[in-house]
Symmetry: C2
DNA sequence: CAGAATCCAGCTCGATACTG
DNA sequence: CAGTATCGAGCTGGATTCTG
């Protein structure tokens, strides 16, 4: 890494900021299976508020990770799809899922040991 | 993915929560080159407050991603090292860095186009 | 040197109400 | 159905001060 690798503008920081948004990751994962409508997403993703979902979709669209298609029915329906760019990100994030499934148990064990040590008065 | 894949307890969410902390990622990356002392980290990582660094190191240690070693000099010096578990995570996060370097320019272009469209009155 | 503790400004996010 | 607008509680994180 170069001397400015720890500056706020490095590309890695920008992706991390993006996937730091858990709703964004969940939306991308869901859309891998095909287009989904707004309220359908809302119902599927446990715990999203309508505000957060709306916000998340807007910024995913801004990043060209997701496309929005309004269909002129009455009332209007809106369909969200993942883009090819979005797919490449979703695939990459999947490597984190794999790491998690392989190692998160170790991490949680470590946390318990740490907490137990602290509780024992250090 | 199973029916509960979108619940808050899935392992993927836990890793994402971890690497959502930008300081944690930067610390892990730095420690790949070898052990570093507290204030050395503080000086190298542009923009960390002492509070955040301290907090980050503590939780990285709790997760067994980093180890802390106090050396009884006067005044005391403390050395942080990455663990083997930490290395596996750092390597995985690197795939995100690669994605970022390959695609973040497209994303930023998309953002500009999106903003321009909005500024043009939609 | 390596922190812990306190205080507080700012942002996030959920809840609620309203719209085309 | 698919959102927008507004308000307020709560958490986050910087600045500052103090310690072994």
């Amino acid at each position: 890494m170069g001397p400015n690798a720890y500056a706020a503008t490095c590309p890695t920081r920008l992706v991390l900021d993006r996937i730091a948004d858990k709703w964004a990751v969940l939306v991308l994962g869901l859309l891998l299976d095909g287009p989904v409508r707004f309220n359908q997403l809302r119902r599927t993703i446990e715990g999203v508020s309508q505000k957060m979902l709306s916000q998340t979709l807007k910024s995913l669209e801004r990043d060209d990770l997701v496309t929005r298609k309004a269909i002129a029915t009455v009332p209007v329906t809106v369909e969200y799809s993942i883009t090819s760019l979005g797919k490449t990100l979703a695939v990459t994030v999947d490597s984190l899922r794999i790491w998690a499934e392989a190692h998160m148990e170790s991490v949680q064990d470590a946390q318990q040991r740490y907490d137990a040590r602290k509780a024992a008065g250090l």
